[in-house]
Each structure stands twice: as structure tokens, then as C-alpha cells.
């Protein structure tokens, strides 16, 4: 699909949509839009080689889980286009970034804006924690730390079949606390799975607050290199740096881009909530109103009219 908007515009659009959603619902995964918007915008608008969506622009309701009695079951991967040998695949490993990922699908024309209205509604497939039947998802990743391993297996299989498409993983830095992440890197290196590419949102935040206060992870780059990855780093809000990072040669090894992000980028007022940014729920009507005015101004939109919402 050709890109009709600039990646900058898409990133702004993502933030605006997530902001509107969070205002109307009195909170949400707002900080993830700050940190991740450029990364997801860049993946979808520039880097990923995807075909046209194969699923309806307005998501279908939930149609059941995988089961022998549910023969028509399918995942939400069709929003990323068909599976073809030369096309790329993407896993959103931290499934709680789903809201940001759905906003991205809308901005790049892969899902209708109505899709976001269905977010976290009973009976909807547009789930809060992205499920594999949710738009743009191919596997369940809500249990953090399994995404890179799944991608490695898929990539190895694709390499063996001679497929040229890449397998991308969008990761969060919290995942480096899980042992499985390291097992996955070691495995990619051992089996020379270099069609795996990952970009990690290094926002230094997790549920409990700043990662350093919860469980220090030290020098992620050095550790990943020791485990056998090629690591590139960039400012997560500098698209040129991101593009350069993606060009890092990594023959025989997986590439992991550490995108150092600001968890309140483009919404500076969120800094007030530091270090509790993981899920921003407004503490009072006063705070909600103040954030509404400030963030709307920062994003260049009118404040959201959330009266009548909940």
C-alpha cells in the first residue's frame, strides 16, 4: 500500500486518537502513545512490506476462540495483509499497546475509525489487551516475553522455506526482565535467524513505575550483544535516526533496535504523573479537565467533549 501521509502525520494522528479515547474513557494506555507513536507509524508507513488488508475495515464482533467446533476461526492478522513469502509479519509483543496499535491501523487506512469505538466493548474483537483475534494481531502476547520467541520460530521456518519476508516484533523494555527474552535472543543467534527484526520501546517504565526502582536491567545493549543480537539504538522520536538504525547490517544475527523514548513525549503535562505512567486513570474531574486542555493544545486539536461519555 502506498503511503499517503507522512510518518510524522501518522504519529500525530495516533496520539490524537489515543488521547481522545483516553479522555472519553477517563483514562487508558496514554503514555504508550507518547513513547510509541513514531515507532508504530514508521513500521506501518515505511518499513513493513505488507499487502492490502484482507479483513473488513469495520472489525467483526468476537467470533469465538480456537476450537474444533469453530472451524471458521481466524486471527486479526488480515489487517496486516495476506501471508506471502515476500511480505513481512509483525507481532505486537506487549499486547497492552493494542490501543496504540489500533490507532495506527486507522491512521494508515487499514481499519475504519469505528474500530476504535469498539475498543474494550463487550462482545467486540477489539480487545483492551490485544488478543490474537483482535485487529492487527496474529498471536496472543498478553503474557509478556513470548513474542520474540514466537517470531524466531516463524522466521526460522520462513527462512527454511526460502521466504524473503521479514518477521518483525514490537517489544517493550519490561520484557527484558523475563528470562524468555534472553532465551529467544540466544536461539536466534545460534540458529542464525537474521530475518527477525525487533524494535523495542525503551521508555524505562513498567507497571510499578520507573524500571530502575522495580528491577534494574542494566545495560540492555551490552547484554543483548553478549547473547548474540546486533543492537542499534535511536531516539524513538527521531525518524531519521530510526531509519538509520534499521539499516544496520546484521548477517546471521537478529537485529534489535532500542528506541529510547520519552513516556510523555508530545503530552508534557503527563510528566505530572511520573513515575506512574503505565495506565493513566484521571484522579479527579479537575485533573481530567486540566489534562484535556493541555494535551489538546499540545496536539493542536480542540479539547475533547467527553460529557456523556463515561
Amino acid at each position: 500500500m502506498k503511503n499517503e501521509k507522512t510518518t510524522e502525520d501518522i504519529a500525530l494522528g495516533i496520539r490524537r486518537r489515543v488521547f481522545e479515547h483516553a479522555m472519553r474513557n477517563n483514562g487508558g494506555y496514554l503514555s504508550q502513545a507518547c513513547s510509541a507513536a513514531e515507532q508504530l507509524a514508521w513500521l506501518y508507513n515505511e518499513e513493513l512490506n505488507l499487502g492490502a488488508p484482507t479483513l473488513p475495515m469495520i472489525p467483526k464482533p468476537f467470533e469465538g476462540v480456537p476450537h474444533a467446533d469453530n472451524p471458521n476461526y481466524h486471527t486479526g492478522a488480515g489487517y496486516n495483509g495476506p501471508f506471502e513469502a515476500d511480505l513481512d509479519r509483525l507481532f505486537i509483543a506487549p499486547a497492552h499497546y493494542a490501543l496504540v496499535a489500533y490507532a495506527t491501523l486507522i491512521e494508515v487506512g487499514r481499519m475504519a475509525p469505528e474500530g476504535l469505538e469498539m475498543f474494550n466493548k463487550d462482545g467486540s474483537s477489539v480487545e483492551m489487551i490485544g488478543a490474537e483475534h483482535s485487529p492487527g494481531m496474529e498471536v496472543h502476547n498478553g503474557t509478556l516475553g513470548i513474542g520474540l520467541s514466537t517470531a524466531a520460530g516463524l522466521a526460522w521456518g520462513r527462512q527454511k522455506r526460502g521466504e524473503t519476508g521479514k518477521t518483525w516484533v514490537y517489544m517493550s523494555d519490561g520484557e527484558v526482565q523475563e528470562g524468555q527474552t534472553w532465551e529467544a535472543i540466544q536461539c536466534c543467534a545460534h540458529h542464525k535467524i537474521d530475518s527477525v527484526k525487533a524494535i523495542m520501546d525503551v521508555n524505562r517504565q513498567q507497571c510499578d513505575g520507573a524500571m530502575d526502582s522495580v528491577m534494574e536491567v542494566g545495560d540492555i545493549r551490552a547484554k543483548m550483544e553478549q547473547f548474540g543480537a546486533v543492537v542499534a539504538e535511536c531516539d524513538a522520536h527521531d525518524l531519521n535516526a530510526m531509519r538509520d538504525a534499521a539499516r544496520t547490517p546484521h548477517a546471521g544475527k537478529p537485529l534489535i533496535i532500542l528506541a529510547h523514548s520519552n513516556p510523555f513525549h508530545a503530552m508534557p503535562i503527563l510528566e505530572e504523573r511520573f513515575p506512574r505512567l503505565h495506565y493513566v486513570r484521571f484522579k479527579s474531574e479537575e485533573e481530567r479537565a486540566r489534562m484535556n486542555t493541555s494535551i489538546a493544545d499540545a496536539l493542536g486539536v480542540d479539547p475533547i467533549d467527553y460529557e456523556g461519555a463515561h
Binding site: 489487551i129 498478553g142 528491577m215
Partner: protein, 334 residues
């Protein structure tokens, strides 16, 4: 309406931990989600942050047990046993460490979908030698869960409710003792956790339709007092229905099937719960309806068991509020 209580675990844990210096509070990056954030802030010496690394946390807790501490592990139920199953077995269950595993958001009480819903935890823990299993069904049980768990000479897994919840009982958990909520003699209903409140609502409607209900609530799932349960099974003319916030395999439905088969009881058993399926994300009320875990599903199950229509409608059930049942429960000295 039954009294609603907000965040009973937060206070109960603090009280218990302060009275027991060998109790430690462990968290895996879900500190406020498990209502221990104030404890972390106020009692940092008794709190250990272990990050999002559950496998290490389980074996680490086993090590703390070796050092004579009684760690309380806090995370969502699923993260207690799915990934760190091996560590749970080798470091905690086998050597009978006094580790108290507090699993929050049991079953479909979370909108997080498959990866967040502990729907087979009881089954897993029941098949694990040395593991004790407790489940909370109201505020009073959550208030007494820490003491109950900490009285166990070995590891214990608890299904813990969080946030706002009704108070259905006025006596604390007595480990091993089931609660007799109503003592009729047509059908036996066995529930645990959040399904007890549903059964209390259904009971009122069922009694109105002329069915005499015996309703038991379980807070101790393992070990189990089979002899007392057998007496109850034998005391009803009809069959047994179980309703659980869990898959129908390996939980309390299976437990009843085992007791009935072990003792050659020739009665029908209807097991209600998640019927060999994963759930998906949604609100608790929606999921309880969608997957047949609510009062309506229970009355329908009883109709099937009895082979007759009772004509109970949703309207009857919404009118059957828990307060009436609560006073009945009081009258019976629960």
C-alpha cells in the same frame, strides 16, 4: 443490598504482615494491581520487588522459605502457575515451603482475555501434591485469607478478589470447613468464589418456584472434607449442581464427581462453568452471561438436572437480591 467493601485485602495483608515479622511481601510489577502499593510505601523492609520475572520469583520464594521466612507472592493468578509451573513444583510444592501464593483476578474477573484469565488454576493446583487451595468469595473471606493461608504447614495457593466486593458472610474462613448457606433437600448446589453470590440469587428464585435448595460454599478446595460433603449429597432427593469460575474439568465439578464416584453415589451431577473453552476479554457481567456462569445459567442447569421447566426469568433473578439471602445466612449462624 449486601454491604459493599472496598479493597479489603489491602488492610488485611498489612495487619497480618505487621503481626508476623517472618511474613514477606513479594511483588512482580503488579503492586498496585494487587493492592499492596501502600504496604510497599509504608513497610519497605518487609517488601521485595522482583520485577516482571515470575520464574525467578517462585524459586526465590522457595529460597526464602529455606531461610525461615513465609513469603506472600502477589501477582495475577495466571502468572503464578502458567509460566513458572516447573519452579512452583520443584522449588515450592515438592519441598513443602511455606509460600503463600496470592493469585488475583481469578477466572473471568479480568477483562484481559486468555492471557490474563486463570481458568484452569484449580485443576493445575489440585493435581500438585502438597499444595493447599483456598478461594475467597466475599469481603469477609478476603479479610481472613492471609491468616488462613499462613496457618498452613506447606505451600498454599489462594484465589483472591480485589477492589469492591459484597460482604456475604460474617465469620472468617475456617480452613477445611464448607459454609452451609441453605439446607434444603431437593438439589445440592456447590459453589466457590464469585459464583456463590450468583447461587444465592438463584436460590431465592428457585425456592419461589418450589425447589428446596441445599447450597454449600467452598473456601477450601484442597484438602477436602469428603465425608461431610457425602452427607450433604445423601441429604438431597435430587442431584448435584456445581457452578464455578473455572473450566468444568479439574475444578469443583470434578471434585464432586470424584466424591460421588468414590462412594458409589448414584445421583446426577451437572457441572457448570467454562465448558472446555478459553474465554475472551470483556466485563465480568458480560463474560458470566456469555459463558454461562451466572444465576440464570444455574437455574437453567437445575431445570436440566430435574428435567422440568421452572419458569424462572431474568426478572425473578434480578429481584432476588443478596440481602434477603444474607439475613437467612445469618439466621443459620454462618
Amino acid at each position: 443490598m449486601a454491604e459493599m467493601v472496598s479493597r479489603p485485602y489491602e488492610r488485611a495483608f498489612e495487619k497480618h504482615a505487621l503481626a508476623n515479622p517472618d511474613v514477606l511481601c513479594l511483588s512482580a510489577d503488579l503492586t498496585s494491581s494487587c493492592e499492596i502499593d501502600k504496604f510497599r510505601d509504608n513497610h519497605p523492609d518487609q517488601f521485595l520487588s522482583l520485577g516482571m520475572a515470575e520464574q525467578n520469583m517462585m524459586s526465590f520464594a522457595g529460597g526464602l522459605g529455606l531461610a525461615g521466612y513465609r513469603p506472600f507472592i502477589h501477582t495475577f493468578g495466571v502468572f503464578c502457575y502458567r509460566r513458572p509451573y516447573d519452579q512452583l513444583m520443584a522449588s515450592i510444592a515438592y519441598p513443602r515451603r511455606k509460600v503463600r501464593i496470592m493469585g488475583f483476578l481469578p477466572g473471568i474477573t479480568t477483562p484481559g482475555g486468555m492471557t490474563h484469565q486463570a481458568i484452569e488454576d484449580i485443576s493445575v493446583m489440585r493435581s500438585m501434591p502438597n499444595m493447599t487451595i483456598l478461594e475467597t468469595g466475599d469481603a469477609t473471606e478476603v479479610e481472613s485469607i492471609c491468616e488462613a493461608a499462613d496457618s498452613i504447614d506447606g505451600p498454599v495457593y489462594c484465589r483472591v478478589l480485589r477492589g469492591s466486593m459484597p460482604r456475604l458472610f460474617d465469620t472468617p474462613i475456617v480452613v477445611g470447613q464448607m459454609r452451609e448457606i441453605s439446607m434444603g433437600d431437593d438439589v445440592l448446589i456447590v459453589t466457590a468464589g464469585i459464583t456463590t453470590e450468583e447461587a444465592m440469587r438463584a436460590t431465592k428464585a428457585l425456592e419461589g418456584a418450589g425447589v428446596s435448595v441445599r447450597h454449600l460454599h467452598l473456601n477450601t478446595i484442597k484438602p477436602f472434607d469428603a465425608a461431610t460433603m457425602l452427607d450433604h449429597i445423601n441429604s438431597v432427593k435430587g442431584g448435584v449442581v456445581t457452578l464455578e469460575n473455572h473450566v468444568t474439568e479439574g475444578g469443583i465439578g470434578s471434585l464432586m464427581a470424584e466424591i460421588m464416584a468414590d462412594n458409589g453415589v448414584g445421583k446426577k451431577l451437572k457441572r457448570l462453568g467454562l465448558n472446555d473453552t478459553y474465554a475472551h476479554g470483556g466485563s465480568r457481567a458480560y463474560l458470566m452471561r456469555y459463558y454461562g456462569l451466572d444465576a440464570l445459567a444455574l437455574t437453567q442447569g437445575i431445570e436440566e438436572l430435574m428435567g422440568e421447566k421452572l419458569g424462572i426469568t431474568e426478572q425473578d433473578l434480578s429481584e432476588a437480591r443478596v440481602d434477603a439471602v444474607h439475613s437467612l445466612a445469618k439466621a443459620e449462624g454462618l
